[in-house]
Symmetry: D2
Subunit: 310 residues, 4 copies
Amino acid sequence: MPLSTDQAAEIDRLRTESASTRRAVAPALEEILYQALPVLDHGFVRVVDYMGDDAAVVQAARVSYGRGTKKVSEDRGLINYLMRHRHTTPFEMCEIKYHVKLPIFVARQWIRHRTANVNEYSARYSILDNEFYIPRPEHLAAQSKTNRQGRDAVLAGPEAERVFELLKRDSALAYEHYLEMLNEGEDGAPLDPGRSGLARELARMNLSLNFYTQWYWKTDLYNLMHFLSLRADAHAQYEIRAYADVMLDTLKRWTPFCHDAFMEYRMGGASLSRTGLAVVKKMLAGESVDQKSSGLSAREWRELMAVLER
Amino acid sequence: MPLSTDQAAEIDRLRTESASTRRAVAPALEEILYQALPVLDHGFVRVVDYMGDDAAVVQAARVSYGRGTKKVSEDRGLINYLMRHRHTTPFEMCEIKYHVKLPIFVARQWIRHRTANVNEYSARYSILDNEFYIPRPEHLAAQSKTNRQGRDAVLAGPEAERVFELLKRDSALAYEHYLEMLNEGEDGAPLDPGRSGLARELARMNLSLNFYTQWYWKTDLYNLMHFLSLRADAHAQYEIRAYADVMLDTLKRWTPFCHDAFMEYRMGGASLSRTGLAVVKKMLAGESVDQKSSGLSAREWRELMAVLER
Amino acid sequence: MPLSTDQAAEIDRLRTESASTRRAVAPALEEILYQALPVLDHGFVRVVDYMGDDAAVVQAARVSYGRGTKKVSEDRGLINYLMRHRHTTPFEMCEIKYHVKLPIFVARQWIRHRTANVNEYSARYSILDNEFYIPRPEHLAAQSKTNRQGRDAVLAGPEAERVFELLKRDSALAYEHYLEMLNEGEDGAPLDPGRSGLARELARMNLSLNFYTQWYWKTDLYNLMHFLSLRADAHAQYEIRAYADVMLDTLKRWTPFCHDAFMEYRMGGASLSRTGLAVVKKMLAGESVDQKSSGLSAREWRELMAVLER
Amino acid sequence: MPLSTDQAAEIDRLRTESASTRRAVAPALEEILYQALPVLDHGFVRVVDYMGDDAAVVQAARVSYGRGTKKVSEDRGLINYLMRHRHTTPFEMCEIKYHVKLPIFVARQWIRHRTANVNEYSARYSILDNEFYIPRPEHLAAQSKTNRQGRDAVLAGPEAERVFELLKRDSALAYEHYLEMLNEGEDGAPLDPGRSGLARELARMNLSLNFYTQWYWKTDLYNLMHFLSLRADAHAQYEIRAYADVMLDTLKRWTPFCHDAFMEYRMGGASLSRTGLAVVKKMLAGESVDQKSSGLSAREWRELMAVLER
């Protein structure tokens, strides 16, 4: 369960309040504001604030005094143009803030995106909860034989059982010892009044990378899309992709035109190298090309044929 | 006049609209939202959007599920603590967006703050208006004799008159020739239908640095305060300080607790060097110290005595 | 002439010195180190320092204890792989520092690249030289009729003559009045000992955007290539492209494998949208597609056909 | 042992090579280039490259054609001036690159400094070594009673013994199971040829936060000093401070004038709030001030008296 009863109640209370604003409002995003959208076994993504909408992108691109353009279709057309020609600054004019609960190993990948603001729950200062990630059976993949950072078929049978046993047992043990070193009972009282308890900033090092942490993460629309282009991609590790997929939905609610342009020009598109482009031109001209004559390496040739579905 | 009638009407229209939101709202900032706050002779600062408030800083610092703390006094205390101990990330969780009209030489100083998003009016694409900055008589300062980047007394009499004449005449001429090179009449029609007109991206180079440009500028609360600490400072050039002063007021409307903490711990405070601190300790212990025995250079000694008002 | 005799002598002296280092050295870049490579009429680009080489990219990608891989061909292959799959961090591990002299309107475009370090010559503090950019006749282009930020045919005849006359006369006048307001003679002595002279930070506003400024500009290899991908592109304004072209040569001298990979996968390649890719697949399958049936706008269709040279 | 025999040999070999360069050289830093400076039980810091020296800061500040100023004493004076007045851009003109081996929980603090380039050893792609951090007895501190993120006295006796036992046993077990899940023997051969082995990107989640990772980390001189001001500070966790202390030595070897200015104006200095400054002025004027009349909170009063050693 990602939320305690208290937390759920606090969110519900927050969602009942509303106020009047002169700012741009994104109604579909307001609908889910503050809600914890579940990800993995104990994680979530919550949109906790945002600034701007599709029209704000247009407004910034035109450095205008009012909002957007006269016609909605013009807004969409300009957004498509900006995305196609890789104009980035108008998209930077919208901002979104998430509250995310995620396993530490996912957090370590995520934090590599530097153009964002982050405030993480401090395990120097506070005690982490007893929550750790255990993959669902269908995500317990074997190491790929061909791609050193990839996954292969799902593990099954005794091997899978043993992995689940190890992951669960070691995590439970690590947490039990964490509390023991802290001299901290489940009720917050010291386990043994005669002991001091290890400093929190030290005891945390006994926890494993599947424990959950949480943070506030804020970024602009351009950098959100850049994050999603990498993390909603098929090459991303499943566990971070699960977050990216949920965030793609929030993007659609927030700025539907930008979302559509992003899907058209980034996620669904393809990049060709100079040599790859030359191959395509030859093929279109009816010339026969194979890997040897193409100038591409065997791997690049395979990748190109996959893109072209040939 | 910073605004045309059309622009003023567009802003007025925008200010009449409002919508309901679940997000944090800063009422005092809403009051002036979209309004053009005049700066210099033709410039302005407009707040066009914002995200978060004082409570959002607290919320991020605590990575909390709800908003702020239970008591307003606790919020203020925590904000003071964060500012005093130079915690920066909670302040990065609020964001503000301005529309600014400013002389190009001011824009060139301003843009050096890199942690911001900017979308500038394009003179490659559009034609700049005939608006240029002329200082008011009380700001027409002489070059400082002692500080190579400082100002001295105000110029007066024939010298001042001559400067005003040159600035105005050269600016007017530059603009007249700009239009002539563009082959562009005041009404937008070509001056001479037989001519092509120089490319906009080239013609603009004839304009001088006092012409006005405009941009959308967006930054987070931490970086806004950092900008203000440098640009509302007495050492900043008057012309950019005029913008910073108006923005300080918007900061106060937006996040009054952060504003107060900023004035207390940044703007109004002082930094002592290791040797300067040793001097203060000696003085407090009743020892006599002079520049020679202090270990400070003559200049640093003067600066320290100025800070201590001795 | 971009350099004074003193400056040329100082550079020559610097180039005679050398020292021993354990660091990676890029011999072809050392050859031109410190030399002023001319750009436009008075500008230049000088490489004044660098860190790393092709092998350093490989070393960082492998987080290795030694340098590069065993074989040069492996280094090249890995660099191609990193570029193709848009891994950015290994390329960020090399750094280069330029001294650039450039017209202010070019500097204003350039500075929009934020991921760089910049230290500009200060016109608050110092007096600018009497050097301004005048395009060569073949670059005096008319405004494009079809693309609002583009150029058309070159201006000629009386229209060109008039433009040159205006640009030169206005620039000369602006500088003459700049010195007069500063009360500064060509020899540095006051023009009139009875006058104070206007503050430098104010007088500079009379100069036009074609005057030259200079700065130290430092960036990493990844961001240099990103800068070049935008500024050496056919859509960039000629005047900044002239700088990017010279910098492309320095890239080739510094990190030849990265340069080649950059030309293959960035500069010479193409991006297809989702719909564009679908069109290509249909064409390859022998289906007939036209703009109407393609789902592309007329403009996108034209752009795609241009890329495919059809 | 931070290094294997192979790694030590590779470093030794690298250190025997040298080449000629026209670039600025920092001889004291060259002396230790590539050497693994030990930190904690298995960690290290290695300087693997650098760009610039003290003179390069001066050169950038002056946007000069040659190197530094005429006199060394002028260079030192200018650097002090720049540091005192918080000019940051000239210090950004030098760059340094480290190879660091560090526990994951330290890496998680470190990575929060965003203005740096990082390339980390990938546990998606490779297998981590069996090396984890165990504090030395004198660093096994109890949780502070007064400061939630601080340490108190060192644990001793049976409590300390138990902590060591738990940390060591859990880490050893986590690693044993990590290899078992990977189906990877110590010799790299599969433990059981009939098993597939869990994907590396998943198996790593069983490791605890005291396991060592490594990365290349590159930053500029300004941001290095900013990092050190926070991480060599008494409030930083001991384990990251141990790295910062070693890096302070490398700073001294690299840019001794900047190092001295940094110690004088940042590390050894103090910041006073507006109210704190008013208190100091009153005390210097011989007025009696106590906490109540000062306007400071009890905590701020204590902090101020500590700074003034009163």
